[in-house]
Each structure stands twice: as structure tokens, then as C-alpha cells.
């Protein structure tokens, strides 16, 4: 049997993974170009659209770093190209690691780092991870238009219920996301750093918003989210020095 890393790091693997990633990369440009043209049509200023692209691009650098860590971790076991594909297209840092482990466990291994990992398991892992990641895009293909129609109709006929549904649910979702960081330290004391990051980031974002209002400078508003996030990380770094 062939060594699985010779398959995982083969030129064939690089070629097929590159095609998919290149396609998805171009897809982003196509959607953005359409949006840009539509923005011009409805009177959005070039400045607003440019600053949105720049702000979003800059913000995305820092949250990409944990994904980079997962990439390197997976690359050491699954080869260079498949993890690159999985994390660039649909995948998420939380899904890929777990999915690779589950696939390995179906073959009686403890994890994908097990010494018994071979080419057969690698190819099966590729199939399992590729198929199971497709449920979300399939649901979007078949359900998004109906979901949008329902939302448009609700917005037209019951605007308050619509706003409660959209913005209220966002608050509920954020509350739900915050809860583990607010509580996990009671079980695992070192998780106090996550709580510090959450609170420091929140307060910093509020202060930057307040500065934007006080000074009338839009820059502070634009910085409130990425700046808050960076200060939150700094907060956990500083807190760790005292622990």
C-alpha cells in the first residue's frame, strides 16, 4: 500500500485543491463586483464601499490566525494540500479537526495522529469530510430563496415582528455566544482569561463608540470592533502576567 503522505502531498492533490480554491476565490470577486455596481446604482458612495472592503479585510487578518494554527496542525498529519482546501472552502477551524478525528475513529483509531493512519483511511477521511461539509450549501441552494421571500413578506406586513425576529434573535444569539465565556472559569479557573478578553473587548468597543459620538470622527466607529477585539486580546495577555 502507498504511503498516504505521498498521496496527500502529490502534485495531483495540489492541482485539484488549487482548482477548487481558485474557483471560490474568483467567486468572491464576482459577487463583490456585482455588489459594487449595484451600490453605484442605488447611490452608495465609493468612499463608503471602499472603507467597507478595507475595514472588513483588515478585521479578518486577526481571526484568520487561529485558523492558521489549525491549518499547520492538520498539515502535519493530513499533508499540505487537503487541510489547505478544507479550511479555505466551507470548512471551519472547529469542524475540520473533529471531522478528521471521527473519520479516523471509524477505522478503530484513537485519532488521526495515530500511527496506524494509512492511505486507505486518508482517502476515506477525504470522502467523509467532503460529503458531510456539503449539507449547509445544499440547504442554502434549496432554501435560501424561500427564506428570503418569507422575510420580505414579514417585513412588509408585520415590521415590528420582523425587527424583533432579526435584531432580537441577534441579541439572543450573542447572549448565547457570550455565556460560555462568562461561566466556564467557574469550572476551569484558567478560563478566566477568556472572560477578561470578552469584557475588555466589550468595554473597549463601547469606549471607542463613545469617542466616535463625542468627537464626531467616524474613524473611532470604524475601529470600535477591530480595536475592541485587539484590546480584548491584550487584556487577556496582561491578565495572564498576573496569574
Amino acid at each position: 500500500m502507498k504511503n498516504y503522505l505521498s498521496i496527500a502531498n502529490s502534485p495531483v492533490m495540489f492541482f485539484v485543491c488549487s482548482i477548487v480554491i481558485l474557483y471560490v476565490f474568483i467567486q468572491s470577486f464576482v459577487f463583490m463586483r456585482r455588489a459594487w455596481k449595484r451600490g453605484k446604482e442605488i447611490g452608495l458612495s465609493t468612499q463608503v464601499m471602499k472603507s467597507t472592503i478595507l475595514g472588513s479585510g483588515l478585521f479578518s487578518v486577526v481571526p484568520s490566525i487561529p485558523i492558521l494554527i489549525i491549518l499547520v496542525m492538520l498539515m502535519s498529519v493530513l499533508g499540505n494540500y487537503f487541510p489547505w482546501l478544507r479550511l479555505s472552502v466551507i470548512g471551519s477551524s472547529s469542524y475540520e479537526n473533529v471531522a478528521a478525528n471521527i473519520a479516523a475513529r471509524s477505522f478503530g483509531l484513537l485519532s488521526y495522529t495515530d500511527s496506524g493512519y494509512n492511505a486507505s483511511i486518508f482517502v476515506s477521511t477525504m470522502w467523509a469530510m467532503s460529503i458531510c461539509i456539503l449539507y449547509e450549501p445544499l440547504l442554502v441552494v434549496f432554501g435560501k430563496k424561500s427564506l428570503d421571500r418569507g422575510m420580505t413578506s414579514l417585513r412588509k406586513h408585520k415590521p415590528v415582528v420582523y425587527t424583533l425576529l432579526i435584531d432580537g434573535i441577534f441579541i439572543a444569539m450573542m447572549g448565547w455566544f457570550c455565556a460560555p465565556y462568562l461561566t466556564y472559569w467557574t469550572e476551569k479557573p484558567e478560563q478566566i482569561l477568556a472572560l477578561v478578553a470578552l469584557i475588555t473587548a466589550g468595554i473597549s468597543a463601547l469606549v471607542l463608540n463613545w469617542l466616535a459620538k463625542k468627537t464626531g470622527r467616524h474613524f473611532f466607529m470604524e475601529m470600535s470592533f477591530p480595536g475592541g477585539m485587539l484590546i480584548g486580546m491584550l487584556g487577556s495577555y496582561i491578565a495572564n502576567l498576573f496569574l
Binding site: M1, A35, W127, V160, Y162, E222
Partner: protein, 236 residues
């Protein structure tokens, strides 16, 4: 004039859906092409165990099937139409695309579901996807092996291990502050659930509880509005 604008808006959205569906289907086929080509090229050199592969697929489906439904229903209203198609192909929604879209709307003081909101969310999500793809490409080439020892080292690990809570705090705080009457009971309820049931149990059943929590919260907000506890819809 207004009718003409509405028609243009509808035409834009219809084309978005068509383009989104076609491009997503092509992406799905391309994703499946990868294991297909590898199996075709190297299949004769390996023993391909179909029953165990199916077993892995069934296990993953049992875990991620529900997660998929919850994520599509919960996230897509916040991403816009084009943004949803893009996000569910490029991935990393909760930690990248959702914050990028939400922040872009807030900074520009725009509403979800409007023509302006649709354009802005698409631009924000597209830019976020491009940056992540480039970083991962560089990561695959050399950046990963160069950076990872530094950011996972003892000096910087406390900061980089906590990117997600920092991101969540910076995103959520302005909304919580503007909607105290809704957010305070919501946070208290979520915290109590975690404290009573424990982190391990909640993590194991994350998607089910998230769905239930969102539905119950919405019904409570509706009740609070009906009895006049909140006088107006939530502020952005």
C-alpha cells in the same frame, strides 16, 4: 419612479439567487471532484473500505446534520442574500463572516434587508473571504510554519487563544448596551443555563440548546412587546 426602483431591486435579488445557486452547485461538484480524482488516480494502490467510510459519514451526519440546519436558519438572515451564498461556500461564518457583515452594517448605519444593506454585507463578506483565502495560501506555503511557533509560544498564546471571546465581546457589547431591556434577561438566562447544566453538557448539546434558546428568546421578546415592557423594536 418608486416602482422602477422596486423592479430593479427585485431583478438584482433574483439574479443574485440564480448566480448564488449556480455557483454553489458548481462549488459542490468541484469539492466532490477532489476525492473522486484522488480515488481514481490512487485507488488501485489502496484498499478503499466502503463500509467504514459510510460509517464515518453517518457519524458525521448525526453530529453535523442538525448543526447545519441551525446555522443556515440562524445565520443567513444576517448575511444578506449574496452574502449567504458566499459565506456557506467560504466557511468560517461565526468567527469571520457574521462579524464582518454585522460590523459593516453598524459602522455605516444601515439596516439588514435593505438594498444598501445587501450591497454592504456582500462587500464585507467578499473582502473577508479574500483575505482569509490569501492568508491560508501563504500559511500553506510558508507562513504557517513560520508564525505558529511564535503565536502558540508561552508569550503570545494567552492573547491568541482568546481571539474568539475578544471578537464576541467587541461585537456584542454595543448591541447589548442599546437594548438593555432585552439583553440583560437574555444574558442572565443563558448564564444560568450554563451554570446549572455545566459546560460539558452544554457543549455536547450546543446546537439543540442554541436553537431552543433562540426560539424561546424570540417568543419572550414578542410577549414583552405585547405587554408593553418594551415600547419599540430593538435598536441597531
Amino acid at each position: 419612479m418608486k416602482n422602477k426602483d422596486t423592479n430593479k431591486s427585485e431583478a438584482y435579488l433574483n439574479t443574485t439567487h440564480r448566480l448564488g445557486k449556480i455557483s454553489t452547485v458548481i462549488a459542490i461538484l468541484l469539492i466532490l471532484m477532489v476525492p473522486t480524482v484522488i480515488t481514481a488516480v490512487y485507488g488501485k494502490d489502496i484498499e478503499f473500505d466502503i463500509p467504514k467510510t459510510v460509517s464515518a459519514i453517518v457519524t458525521l451526519t448525526a453530529i453535523y446534520g442538525v448543526v447545519s440546519i441551525v446555522e443556515v436558519v440562524s445565520f443567513s438572515p444576517f448575511l444578506g442574500s449574496a452574502g449567504t451564498y458566499l459565506s456557506f461556500i467560504t466557511g468560517n461564518i461565526m468567527n469571520m463572516k457574521l462579524p464582518a457583515a454585522t460590523n459593516a452594517l453598524r459602522v455605516n448605519d444601515m439596516e439588514r434587508g435593505t438594498d444598501e444593506g445587501e450591497v454592504i454585507t456582500t462587500l464585507a463578506i467578499g473582502a473577508s473571504s479574500i483575505v482569509t483565502t490569501l492568508i491560508l495560501f501563504l500559511g500553506m506555503l510558508f507562513l504557517g510554519n513560520l508564525l505558529v511557533p511564535i503565536i502558540t509560544g508561552p508569550a503570545l498564546a494567552p492573547a491568541f487563544n482568546n481571539v474568539t471571546p475578544a471578537l464576541t465581546g467587541a461585537l456584542a457589547a454595543p448591541y447589548f448596551m442599546k437594548n438593555k431591556k432585552l439583553s440583560i434577561p437574555t444574558i442572565i438566562a443563558a448564564v444560568l443555563l450554563y451554570l446549572i447544566l455545566g459546560y460539558s453538557f452544554m457543549s455536547a448539546n450546543y446546537s439543540y440548546f442554541m436553537l431552543g434558546f433562540i426560539v424561546v428568546s424570540f417568543l419572550c421578546y414578542l410577549g414583552m412587546y405585547k405587554i408593553g415592557f418594551i415600547k419599540e423594536a430593538p435598536k441597531k
